[in-house]
Symmetry: C2
Subunit: 258 residues, 2 copies
DNA sequence: CGGACTCTTGAATGTCGTCAATCCAAGTGG
DNA sequence: CCACTTGGATTGACGACATTCAAGAGTCCG
C-alpha cells in the first residue's frame, strides 16, 4: 500500500468517529447525533504505531480497549523459550484487549505489523458512556462477539490437520475481510511474515512456503513475496474443504455421533 | 459423579442467584442486595437438559445467553459432511451463546454432555438490567472475557503439534477448572467421549486413546474409561511443555523475531 | 445373551517437521 | 557503484509421528 495514501487517510480520519470511514463497521454503527458525540469524547487521542512496536505486552495492567483504525496488528503469546504463538491478526474496525478484562492484566502482546493507527478506548470512560447509551452497550457486545466468532473460525481451521486446507482458509478469510473493508480481496498484500502465518496456523515456515508454491503451480495464486493475487477464487474455495481420500463420502474424520 | 448428589444440588440451587453456590464465579460476583434481586428477575426459569439434548443449534435465532449451573456442555460446529468439530467444553459458571450476538443467529450448536442445568438470560432483559447496574455490566464483560481467555488458551494448545502435549494441556486445564469449582481436580470423570476430546484437540480418537495408555504406562495417570486419576500432577505439568529434541534448548519451533 | 457402541491395540502409509543449503531483496559501508 | 552483510523466503532430502485401516476388547442396553 502506498504510504502517501495512508498518511492522507490518517489525516482525514483523525478528528472523530463522525468523520471516520469505518463508522459502519466499528463501534459507532447505529449511533448518531448527540450519542455519537458522547462516544467521541470517550475516545482518547489516536495513536500511530510504527511497524514492530507493541501496543501492549503480556502482564501490562489493563486500562483500555483498542480499535484498529488503519494498518494491522498481530496478537501473540510468548512462552518461556521466547517462542511466539500468533493468536490473531487484526484489521481496521476490529477490537483488541478484551482478554485483559477478566484478570485486569493483558495475557498477550499486540504489535503493529505495519504503520498502524489506533483508537484507544479508556475503559472507565467507555463504561460510563455505554451505561448512558443502551445502543452503544449493545454495539460493544456485538463487536466483541465478532471477535469471538473469528476466533471460533480460527479454532475450526486449526482443527483441520491438512496444511493446504489451513492455508487456503487463511487466505480466503483474509480476502473476505478485505472485501468488507471495501478493498480488493483478490489482491492481497500480506502485512505479516511467513513465520507469523505459520505460527498462526500451527505449522512451520517451510510448510507454508511449500504450499504457496504449490498453489501457484496449480494456477490458484500468483505469489511474489508479500504480494499475493488470487487468480482462481473458485479453486481456492475448493481447497478450503478437506480432500476426500476415497470416493464414497462416508468416512469422515470426526463423524457426528447419534 | 453420583447422580444423587447432583439432584440435591439442583434442588438447592433452583431458587435464585442469591442461594446459588456459583455466586462467586458467575455473573452475580460482586453484586448484592437489591441489585442481585433485579438480576434474579431477569434470569428466566432454569432448565434441565438430558444428556445429548441441544440447548441451541446452528442457525437458531438469538434470544438469550446461557450459563451452565451444573453438568457440562460442548459447543461444536458441523460441516457439510456432518463432521463435527468441538469448539469448547463448558463447566458450571461459564457462559455460552456470545458468538450469536454479532449476527443474531447461533453459529454453533450447544449440547449437554450429561444431565445439565442451565440458567437462561433473555438478552433483552439482561440488557435492561445491566444498563441500570454498572457493576453488573462490568461483570458481564468479565465473564465474557474469561471465555475469550479460555479460547486463546485452546488456540495455543492447538498450535502445539505434539499430540501428547495437547492431551496433557487438556487434562491439566480441566483439572484446574475442577479446582476452581472446589472439586477434586485429581479425580476427573470426563463427561465427554474420546471422540469429543479428539475433535477438540484436532486429533483422531486413536491418537487420544494411545496417549492415555502411554500416560498410564508412565505412571502419570490411572485411566479407567471416563474415570481419570492424576497420579503425578508434577509429571503431567512437565508434559505440558514440548519435548526438546536436542539438548541445547535453543532451537524453538517459532522463534521470536527481532 | 446378543448387538451396538465406544474404546483400545496393531501394522502400514504418508504428511509434515527437521535440518541444511540456497536464493532473493534490501540495506550498509567502502 | 559495487562487494558484503543480513534477514526472510524457498527448495530438497530425510525421518518421525500422527493418521489410516483393520481387528479385537470392553461396556452398556436391550
Amino acid at each position: 500500500m502506498p504510504p502517501v495514501a495512508d498518511l492522507i487517510d490518517i489525516r482525514q480520519l483523525r478528528r472523530s468517529c463522525a468523520s471516520c470511514g469505518l463508522q459502519e463497521l466499528c463501534l459507532p454503527a447505529g449511533i448518531s447525533g448527540d450519542d455519537l458525540a458522547r462516544l467521541d469524547a470517550a475516545v482518547r487521542d489516536k495513536r500511530v504505531l510504527e511497524r514492530g512496536r507493541a501496543l501492549y505486552r503480556a502482564g501490562d495492567a489493563f486500562h483500555s480497549l483498542f480499535v484498529v483504525r488503519s494498518g494491522a496488528l498481530k496478537t501473540f503469546v510468548t512462552d518461556e523459550n521466547a517462542t511466539q504463538q500468533v493468536i490473531g491478526f487484526h484489521l481496521p474496525g476490529e477490537i483488541v484487549g478484551i482478554d485483559a478484562l477478566a484478570s485486569g492484566r493483558h495475557a498477550s502482546q499486540a504489535e503493529a505489523l505495519e504503520r498502524t493507527s489506533i483508537c484507544e478506548l479508556p475503559f472507565a470512560q467507555l463504561e460510563h458512556v455505554t451505561s448512558e447509551i443502551p445502543a452503544l452497550q449493545r454495539q460493544l457486545l456485538r463487536v466483541i462477539s465478532r471477535e469471538v466468532v473469528q476466533e471460533h473460525e480460527h479454532l475450526v481451521t486449526m482443527g483441520q490437520q491438512q496444511a493446504q486446507v489451513r492455508l487456503a482458509i487463511f487466505l480466503k478469510s483474509l480476502a473476505d475481510r478485505y472485501n468488507t473493508l471495501h478493498r480488493d480481496g483478490n489482491h492481497l498484500v500480506l502485512p505479516m511474515s511467513r513465520h507469523d502465518i505459520a505460527s498462526y496456523l500451527g505449522l512451520v515456515v517451510e510448510t507454508v512456503s511449500r504450499w504457496f508454491t504449490r498453489f501457484e503451480d496449480a494456477g490458484i495464486l500468483e505469489v511474489r513475496r508479500k504480494a499475493v493475487t488470487i487468480l482462481r477464487p473458485d479453486l481456492l474455495a475448493q481447497m478450503c474443504r478437506p480432500a476426500e481420500s476415497d470416493s464414497g463420502s462416508k468416512k469422515a474424520r470426526h463423524p457426528a455421533a447419534n
